[in-house]
């Protein structure tokens, strides 16, 4: 029983990890909280649903197409909403409100298109699962853990090694200085939005492999992602791993004691505790106020 809880936590952590990495990335370059990520998460899941169930493509191909589709949604949001607002010198609060608006619109579009009832892409026959540390884990679950880890490693390597990664880190550190160094900051924000949204959509896809999807599924995943990102230290990708595992363990191990309905409450409690006592997260450094 205990090892099964651990395995479940690991699977949850892999989904949180992907979502949190996207949130952390988007926040670090744009300095506002992308609420609409919740819709992008659901977009990822429903894209797979359309491609796999309606069009009839294999699940793997559907997922490979759905992830960049989610990225494209993020791209569109940036181009149509956030960038024009930023040009008008809108602050983070205005951008957050716009993002909430975008979420509501997108979520309603999905409700209209697919209905509010849950949809599923999971195989109808129940899978037995492979024995793993005295628990059972299905092939799909193993793949989702592997995908999450692989994405994170690729992301981290790209950030440290590549020219693009350095550009993105420069923009995160000081957008104005990046701009006067000759970096096209709007361009960086654009492709980071794409990558971040692709991660969000991937989170949605992974989740839909495990549970049924609804148009509002993104909210819970977003909350988990935010908690993992805050716990890990926002903008710190390695910290996000710790944050995701921490949250998943807390949620799943607590089901020993209390009912699973309390999982969101636990996530919120952790979020509040960290915001109050350690806002910089596990790994984050105290934010240094920039001078003048």
């Amino acid at each position: 029983m205990f090892s099964q809880l651990l395995v479940n936590a690991l699977i949850a952590a892999s989904i949180y990890l992907v979502v949190a990495a996207g949130i952390s990335l988007a926040y670090s370059v744009t300095r506002f909280f992308h609420f609409a990520h919740a819709a992008v998460i659901a977009c990822g899941a429903y894209s797979v649903f359309v491609l796999h169930v309606w069009v009839g493509l294999p699940l793997s191909i559907s997922a490979l197409i759905a992830a960049p589709l989610g990225g494209a949604v993020g791209l569109a949001l940036e181009l149509l909403i956030y960038r024009p607002l930023r040009r008008k010198a809108a602050g983070p609060l205005v951008l957050l409100l716009a993002s909430i608006g975008a979420y509501v619109v997108l979520q309603n579009v999905m409700s209209l298109a697919f209905g509010d009832a849950s949809r599923s892409i999971r195989p109808t026959s129940v899978q037995e699962g492979l024995p793993f540390l005295g628990a059972r884990i299905t092939c799909v679950q193993l793949i989702s853990i592997a995908v999450a880890l692989a994405l994170l490693i690729i992301l981290l390597t790209a950030f440290v090694r590549t020219r693009w990664g350095k550009m993105a880190r420069a923009v995160m550190s000081d957008p104005e200085l990046a701009s006067v160094s000759g970096i096209n900051v709007d361009g960086v924000i654009l492709w980071v939005s794409f990558v971040a949204s692709m991660l969000a959509a991937t989170g949605g896809i992974l989740q839909s492999l495990d549970v049924d999807m609804t148009p509002t599924m993104g909210m819970t995943a977003l909350l988990a992602g935010v908690v993992a990102a805050v716990v890990g230290g926002i903008g710190r990708l390695p910290g996000v791993v710790l944050g995701a595992i921490f949250l998943a363990l807390a949620q799943h191990l607590s089901t020993w004691i209390i009912s699973t309905q309390w999982q969101d409450a636990i996530a919120f409690a952790i979020l509040l505790a960290f915001l109050i006592f350690r806002p910089e997260g596990f790994m984050g450094k105290k934010v240094r106020e920039t001078t003048v």
């Binding site: 010198a89 350095k166 550009m167 880190r169 420069a170 995160m172 550190s173 000081d174 104005e176 200085l177 990046a178 701009s179 006067v180 160094s181 000759g182 970096i183 096209n184 240094r288 920039t290 001078t291 003048v292």
Partner: protein, 234 residues
């Protein structure tokens, strides 16, 4: 003429900060802008590098009108800028900061350029892998200067490079600035509060007051006229 500003009006949002400002920097010159806090000194540099748009008037760099250019375009033309506050990319190490400074430099050349600039700033050489956020204030200023030099600018703009430095370090930063100007012939436009020090190194000086030109002349005139200097800062 390296830089020519004619009747420039600009500001932030609806607030006008500069009123009909005209000034120029000739080839190889060090030109200082002085003036009290809030006079609009930094705003001049931000307008020239393209961070804020000109509302009226004309800016001309090396024969090309630069009104409406982006900062990236201006860097490509040869204008680099070290903004106020000794800013570096914290979270990136010293080497990466320099690589970002040479962002538009062809990859093959970049390594050589960095080595050259590091020769001018030996303190940075030992700290190549250190996070720029953890450097001392003086080291950060050196890095800010070095970063702005990698692109081999024709016009280097510095906003209060002496900010927060001890008197000794101020002298060594100004020493570096003169050395760079002498060795590379780069024109330098420098905003400075430490008037006495900057008057010692510049060829010409402008003083701003409430967004308008209050003085335009040589440092010698100003050094000898204590009354005038006081008046400019009142």
């Amino acid at each position: 003429m390296m830089l020519e500003i004619r009747k420039l009006d600009t500001g932030y949002g609806k607030k006008q900060v500069l009123f009909g400002l005209s000034m120029e920097v000739r080839n190889g010159e060090i030109v200082a802008i002085i003036g009290p806090n809030g006079a609009g000194k930094s705003t001049v540099l931000k307008a020239v590098c393209g961070l804020i748009p000109a509302w009226n008037g004309r800016m001309c760099f090396d024969g090309t009108t630069t009104n409406g250019s982006t900062p990236a375009q201006n860097v490509a033309r040869g204008i680099t800028f070290a903004p106020q506050g000794n800013r570096v990319f914290a979270g990136l190490n010293v080497m990466e900061n320099l690589q970002i400074g040479g962002f538009q430099v062809p990859r093959k050349e970049l390594r050589g350029r960095i080595a050259q600039v590091l020769d001018v700033f030996p303190v940075l050489k030992d700290r190549a892998k250190q996070d720029a956020g953890n450097l001392s204030g003086g080291e950060q200023q050196m890095l800010a200067l070095a970063r702005a030099l990698i692109a081999r600018p024709k016009l280097l703009m510095l906003d209060e490079p002496s900010l927060g430095l001890s008197p000794n370090l101020v002298r060594s930063v100004f020493g570096k600035i003169v050395e760079i100007n002498r060795d590379t012939g780069v024109s330098i436009l420098i905003v400075e509060q430490k008037v006495r020090e900057v008057l010692r190194v510049c060829n010409r000086v402008y003083s701003l007051k409430l967004g308008k030109l209050a003085y335009d002349g040589t440092p010698e005139e100003l050094r000898d006229d204590k009354g005038k200097l006081k008046e400019l800062f009142l």
